[in-house]
């Protein structure tokens, strides 16, 4: 198998695996965070503004791990330097 096929195959498979596995952890973490946030609001309803704001900030921090995985996946698909190099070699 020549290098073009290898690189293409590796990139696509890895891109799929990256976002598939990378989205599991943050989803579980966010579920736990929201559950805890709801329990806190139920316990102290008059603090719900602070709790909601802190919850959103925490969710954004957790979400960023999933975003890193997504960015890596996108780079593998759309801005892949190895693919560009190999295609340039084959074309030129």
């Amino acid at each position: 198998m020549d290098s073009i096929s290898l690189i293409g195959m590796g990139s696509v498979i890895t891109a799929g695996l990256t976002i598939g596995i990378g989205a599991i952890g943050p989803a579980l973490g966010e579920g736990r965070a929201v559950a805890q946030g709801l329990a806190s609001i139920a316990q102290q309803p008059d603090e719900s503004n602070t709790i909601t704001r802190t919850l959103f900030v925490g969710l954004a921090m957790i979400e960023s791990t999933a975003i890193y995985a997504f960015v890596v996946s996108m780079i593998l698909l759309f801005a892949n330097p190895f693919w560009d190099y190999v295609v340039a070699q084959a074309g030129g």
Binding site: R53, F56, V57, A60, E63, Y68, F78
Partner: protein, 240 residues
């Protein structure tokens, strides 16, 4: 018109004009559009401010927004909003406008480019020591890096750099992913589903603008003095 191809990952790759070494890409042009909109809009609204009688609707809108921001900053910094408002408020308004304008056809959000988000994150990175030194003095601010022990110095520095990087990549990833998903869905199943994804993109854009400015405010406040004084003051009262 800016048209990003499906294979482009950021508006930096859409080059509109080129004179020799200087190239004008979609990021720069769309940033100018946001700057023009914000600048001309605020100038028009604040031309005739009235304190008594009937303020115009736009003035009330601005007053409500500024008051809400001051309230948020006061809660986060445990201190008077003061000059924090200029920095965090500008971050929020700029990122919010550039994200919400993405419904306009032909416009690409400049925050979908890592250049813009990295620039904003570097502004926050520079603002933290600026406000910290203003609040604590030079030695007081530097002493924070060796709290609680001097062995924590590399970890504190690395932590500082990594949260700047996280700020940039978080904003870039959220906005770019919204655009990419909408673009891919447009290629697959046009007409209805992309509208739903576009609405979701607006929501995440607004939330990310809020998160960016709140995180910037939290970093600045944690480098300042007011929170520490508040907390130690409360502890002393409780011990009594």
């Amino acid at each position: 018109m800016d048209f990003m191809q499906l294979k482009d990952i950021s508006p930096d790759q859409v080059v509109l004009w080129q004179w020799g070494l200087i190239s004008l890409n979609a990021t720069i042009v769309c940033t100018w559009v946001v700057i023009a909109l914000l600048g001309i809009g605020s100038w028009l609204i604040t031309r005739r401010l009235s304190t008594a009688g009937h303020p115009s609707r736009w003035q009330s809108l601005l007053e409500v927004s500024v008051n809400a921001m001051r309230q948020q900053i006061r809660e986060i910094a445990q201190d008077a909003p003061g000059s924090y408002l200029y920095f965090a408020g500008t971050l929020f308004v700029f990122i919010l406008t550039s994200n919400l304008l993405s419904v306009v056809p032909g416009y690409i959000a400049p925050t979908a480019s890592l250049s813009t988000t990295a620039a904003l994150a570097i502004c926050v990175f520079a603002a933290v020591p600026f406000y910290g030194i203003l609040s604590r003095g030079f030695r007081g601010y530097l002493k924070q890096y060796i709290q609680p022990t001097v062995f924590m110095l590399p970890f504190n520095v690395i932590g500082e750099l990594s949260r700047t990087l996280a700020l940039a990549v978080r904003l870039f990833g959220n906005i770019m992913s919204g655009m990419k998903i909408a673009a891919i869905l447009l290629a697959l199943a046009p007409l209805f589903f992309p509208i739903v994804m576009h609405a979701l993109g607006l929501l995440t854009g607004a939330i990310q603008a809020y998160i960016f400015s709140v995180l910037a405010m939290v970093y600045i406040a944690s480098a300042g003095r007011a929170r520490e004084q508040k907390e130690s003051g409360q502890d002393k009262d409780q011990i009594k």
